[in-house]
Symmetry: C2
Subunit: 769 residues, 2 copies
């Protein structure tokens, strides 16, 4: 039904806008997507195949680096958050689960690698060719598109192609040698791997072409279980496995079997398997591997439901059609091909996470380790909320509201299953990993309810927000409630946390107001002003405060680490009052101070020593001391508006769009962070941004598009037009909403969601009045 | 309905038999049960509480000895197969799962220990009082009965009482001190424990009196998962946990919480918890802990269904009533109180295993790691088939046929779920451990079908038997099929296996004949004669043979280990042709040779050196060179019958009954082996024995009872009477079946199952003609 609406209105729109939209109906938007963007440097995206929000992310992993060496953190592992590092010379294999753009990692389940020649059951090392099953490859022989990835594995003379449905990874391997051929299944491979991370694995060979099993890991997710079912298009002639762990002495009767040789009943924590084939030169062997959070039977059922055939191209096309539908939600006209690539790759990156987390029968694993059935919603997992509450979920509330409603429903289900009665902080695969500060679920929930997106029980959702915000044991909440701030001595990120709690509390207050819950409103609107308690007027910055009310003495305003902050120094974080920017400006000293502050932020020089310890952005992710590669300052560029200098917002927005988002593997200046960086691009290139989610307002910037049509789920279309758009014409001269001049610098959600026409008139000179 | 029938017919029987049955209706049979029998020396029984075939076996564990020391087997662990060692001075706590009488072990889940005084979260060592939570205790302050166990824990001045329903362990702790009181929950405790055996555990504190969780172990069962739900009768005032393993570095955000202190969301592999109470002097705190193979929710539902209240005495009474019903299936009159104790404790021991393995909703975990629902049967686990096929299952086919039908159904379900398409060898908790030789499931299945007990699909069952017997990879089956024996160089127990396979094949042949499957019959009746291939006429014994057809050169007929045998030397094993004893006798040289052989076996001296390496029986478990403490020769005493010397059978049966079964903790001469030793006692004391299960025949011996009534499930009663019974009158002069003199030495199953009257006329002199 959605597709039909989109189609209808798309046609209508094309009829009306043939001039402004040069997009030909024959040109597929999906062809603009380049999954390689962000795979180099610190983007942490993966180049492999998936469908929108798909449960399987089938992608090459280029190394097997350990999270820790001799028990200490190995900083090199950080480069492997998505499994693939663009400048690595070898591929180890293709695993089925990957995060997109995270700054910590997990997953990498069920690595498959086709090989030829002598069987090798260890990956080997990159510096010793032939020391294992890994293979050299060349980017010249690599191609990535939405739901399709292809690479030639030089060591084995095998061409590997990958595609997916939501729950099934589909591999097509073309062998160029007829000598012995193998397909490796590594059950202990993982991203952010670690000796002991694989707690247990099981494999059962059901017949000469079907294997099922599961894998339990103790990683970023503490107790994570993923089941699989795997089928080969051609029966293997033999198979085997190797368990690197010693069999416990008490299991001596198992020695009746040679478990390494064609033995169908395998379990242990350090297992690799191989399946052996006779192939003709040029013969293709295909593999399908389905996932399930619940059971091997469910994995088999998922495969049967989604990919019951061996038609690789059909599965690829179906997935690309899904992508095309997803991308057609926004149809843009831009001036350069590279802009199209940036835009639609951003849409692509903003449709990778969270991922579907349930079987075709609706079953999923809960935070309570039990089997649940999603009734009336799709369950999602991998919620990187500290990142995504800012722009990703607001983007979803416009472009993909039904899905965001289901995501909120999944968060409420998480809450119901949490024995601590907490909404998710950063959760994945039925586990909470507690990553980052704040309790930003409440922002996502408030925003979705206030914008009319969430269809569930709003009062229950508010109760969940209140309970979460009152869990005194969680990261200084008790002290925060008692003192109005988190004392420096209590928490290493006391300022970040206090500021983010204050914003989150404002979200709860807004939701309470919306629902007529006056008591909750009053409590939380009061708490939302707690940011004031950490402002040190003597230096003009937010600053860690001790329980006795005195500010921390030694304090470096440029340093992030060990200063009470996380992923942003006080230059960036002092501006983190998105819900009361005017109040913040007033406290800081008024418009001029704010203007000067922002000017300095964007233009000052940040000495290398402050950058060296920041691991998840590149030097290019920083403009002056403004860190776009991390999130805390994502709203900051829009703050010029309240200083009365909207033209500076426009100027810097255009610069950030230009500098921080490029075509090419190294196109992202920092972690994409599960779509947040991309959502920033999408909003800002359309000309507005949700400075304070939980509010219905968007703040205006300067569009990069020439025109855009947002094809809304309700059948309406919101059109954006930038008249006189050019590289030089970056300054907005006038904004018309449905033909009427817009005063002020904000746009309301209802202005968008009811459809309409937003026209920016662009010019080369700042409009300073 | 069964109960009603038993009651009706019991009354009838009492009316008819008041003279022969001195048993007063007021006297509870359950009071004869002494669970302490077998807890010392090598009995390996446990003294704690359970109901017939109950899923929970709640019993004290007296130490925490490790299965291995520095990676090598620790022989001392063998004494702890049941968790409890009678001569140990301390109790570590009470765990919820125990095998009865095994010679290898596992289990010991969820150890609970009440303590007083300073909190100690380690068990300490027995030689340092106060070094941990363990406690000294005295047998003077210990009492065990069916479904009730009581002990005073001296270190803590706490009286502990235990009782159970099938799925719930019920603890009643009476505190004598009002100072700080604790209840410890040790999630890493286990029997046959080992560093690394506990793969993963989870605990979730749902409220101030409810905890749920699960435990996964890699022990004798490779991949074993047990869930629990635990409730306290009184809210704890605080709680905590300790995880002895280091938290992986990648899980740093968990450091936001002090997980040791009142933290509700616990997981790891080395966890102990404590729950703290304020108690009055003399106050009782009760604990209920329910198990589930499936989930925490199912464990809670099991508790709610079986023990929704806090009435300890009621649960105890209900369980004892179940025992009383179970024991009333055979009502005996015996001459001495100690005989009653032996008899009914044997019945008790023969009703402990296998154990129920499903939730109240019918769900259980299968060999395929998936959730199944038992439709129309109760699923059972812990099948020690090498032991129990001999007399235990035949005993069940008379006394408890519905349950044995369900056990067979459970074996077929195991087969259906086995990826190797194997019937169980020794399976427990959805795992196969492959223990011991043969494929004796086929004996149990054939016996149950031929005797009309198994109600499922007999043809399917036969197919499962054939498939199992043709799995060439299993312990020499391939060579056995090709050569007619397992070559010595192929398998360390080649003779035991060959002999047992031959018997098992005969069972398959009998079943095939019964079902009219002539082709199967012919194949397997031929295979059943393979025992002949290992008889070395030059020495008159079975002997390991090499693939080239020559017998092994160096061979010691008294030695068990390393000679091609397991749990019996060739003196015992050469007689293992239960299905063709006449053929065996003929090959051995006829009646006189057999008679002399048996005389020697029972009277020769076995030098200590041969005994020293036999770990699972005591010196008392051996008569001459006849090893009653192990199973392979359990039928041997009856073989005098075919030598025409039934009087010697009678003499030796009476001697074995007298010597091998006593009252008292050291009352068993060897492992009870999951009821097999006890079933031997029950059959033999009733005057007959199933020499070759799969046949309808029982061989007569000499009864120990004065009289007995077997109250059959079909409502019939089979009465046994021993006229002139006394210690001296151990010889049978005549046997009358339903008043007619019985010629021959066998009794048919139909003679029993249709009800009737078997009269032995006893005398002091052997009847030699």
């Amino acid at each position: 039904m959605i597709y039909k609406n989109i189609f209808t209105y798309t046609c209508l729109f094309f009829a009306m806008q043939t001039v402004t939209l040069g997009q030909s109906p024959e040109r597929r938007l999906v062809d603009y997507v380049d999954p390689m963007i962000g795979t180099a440097k610190m983007g942490h995206t993966y180049p492999g195949s998936t469908v929108p929000f798909g449960a399987v992310q089938l992608s090459p992993d280029t190394d097997t680096i350990s999270y820790a060496v001799n028990g200490s953190y190995n900083p090199d592992v950080y480069k492997y958050c998505a499994g693939y590092k663009y400048d690595d010379p070898t591929i180890v294999g293709f695993s089925h689960t990957h995060f997109s753009g995270t700054g910590h990692a997990d997953l990498g389940d069920f690595l498959i690698m086709p090989t030829s020649g002598e069987l090798k059951l260890n990956p080997g090392t990159a510096d010793v060719p032939g020391s294992g099953y890994r293979s050299l490859y060349s980017h010249d022989n690599e191609f990535a598109a939405a739901n399709y990835y292809k690479v030639k594995l030089d060591a084995h003379d095998i061409t590997a192609e990958l595609t997916t449905s939501s729950r099934v990874g589909f591999h097509r391997y073309t062998f160029s040698k007829s000598e012995q051929s193998h397909i490796i299944l590594d059950l202990m491979h993982g991203i952010y791997n670690y000796d002991g991370k694989t707690v247990w694995t099981v494999a059962r060979v059901l017949n000469d072409s079907t294997v099922v099993g599961y894998r339990q890991t103790n990683g970023w997710a503490r107790t994570r279980v993923v089941h699989f079912a795997m089928k080969f298009s051609k029966p293997f002639k033999s198979y085997g496995s190797k368990n690197l762990e010693e069999m416990p002495v008490y299991r001596g009767f198992w020695r009746k079997f040679d478990q390494s040789d064609n033995f169908a009943d395998i379990a242990g924590s350090k297992i690799r398997m191989h399946f052996d084939f006779d192939v003709e030169v040029g013969e293709q062997v295909q593999v399908k591997l389905a996932l399930s959070p619940i059971s091997m039977d469910n994995a088999l059922a998922n495969m049967e439901a989604e990919v019951p055939h061996w038609d690789f191209d059909k599965t690829m096309r179906e997935g690309q059609d899904l992508w095309e539908s997803e991308l057609r939600r926004i149809e843009v006209k831009m001036r350069k091909h590279e802009d199209y690539v940036n835009f639609y790759t951003s849409m692509y990156h903003a449709a990778l996470m969270p991922t579907e987390y349930m079987d075709v029968n609706g079953e999923y694993r809960g935070q309570d380790y039990q089997i649940h059935k999603a009734e009336g919603f799709t369950n999602y997992t991998s919620l990187s909320l500290w990142d995504t509450f800012r722009a990703f979920h607001p983007y979803m509330n416009i472009v993909n509201p039904s899905r965001n409603s289901d995501i909120v429903q999944s968060m409420i289900a998480h809450y119901d299953q949490s024995v601590l009665n907490m909404l998710p902080i950063w959760s994945h695969y039925a586990n909470e990993n507690w990553c980052m500060s704040g309790y930003h679920s409440v922002s996502v929930i408030a925003d979705a309810i206030i914008k009319g997106v969430y269809k569930g029980d709003a009062h229950k959702a508010l109760d969940a927000c209140v309970t979460t915000a009152n869990f005194r044991r969680y990261e200084g909440i008790g002290e925060y409630i008692d003192l109005g701030f988190i004392p420096d001595e209590k928490n290493g990120t006391s300022v970040s946390n206090t500021l983010e709690y204050a914003y989150d509390d404002w979200c709860i207050a807004q939701l309470a107001k919306y629902l007529g819950r006056q008591d909750v409103f009053e409590t939380f609107i009061k708490r939302s002003e707690n940011w004031r308690n950490l402002y040190d007027a003597s230096i003009g910055f937010m600053r860690p405060k001790r329980a006795d009310g005195t500010f921390r003495k030694e304090f470096d305003v440029l340093e992030t680490h060990g200063q009470g902050f996380i992923e942003g120094n006080t230059w960036n974080y002092s501006l983190y009052v998105p819900h009361n920017p005017e109040g913040m400006m007033e406290l800081m000293g008024g418009k001029e101070r704010l203007s000067n502050y922002l000017d300095s932020l964007f233009t000052m020089h940040l000495p290398d020593k402050y950058f060296e310890n920041t691991e998840d952005i590149t030097r290019e992710g920083i403009i002056g001391n403004y860190v776009h590669g991390n999130e805390p300052a994502h709203h900051v560029v829009y703050l010029y508006q309240i200083a009365g200098e909207g033209w500076k917002t426009q100027q810097w927005v255009r610069k950030i769009l230009k500098d921080q988002y490029h075509n090419g593997a190294d196109g992202l200046g920092g972690n994409d962070d599960c779509g947040q960086m991309s959502a920033w691009y999408l909003f800002s290139s359309l000309g507005f941004y949700p400075v304070s989610p939980g509010s219905e307002e968007y703040w205006l910037g300067a569009p990069l598009v020439e025109s855009a049509a947002i094809n809304l789920e309700n059948g309406q279309v919101f059109k954006i037009e930038a008249v006189n758009q050019s590289d030089k014409n970056m300054y907005v001269q006038e904004v018309l909403l449905n033909g009427k001049s817009l005063s002020g610098y904000t746009l309301k959600h209802s202005d968008i969601i009811n459809g309409g026409h937003l026209q920016f008139r662009m010019g080369a000179k700042p409009k300073k009045d």
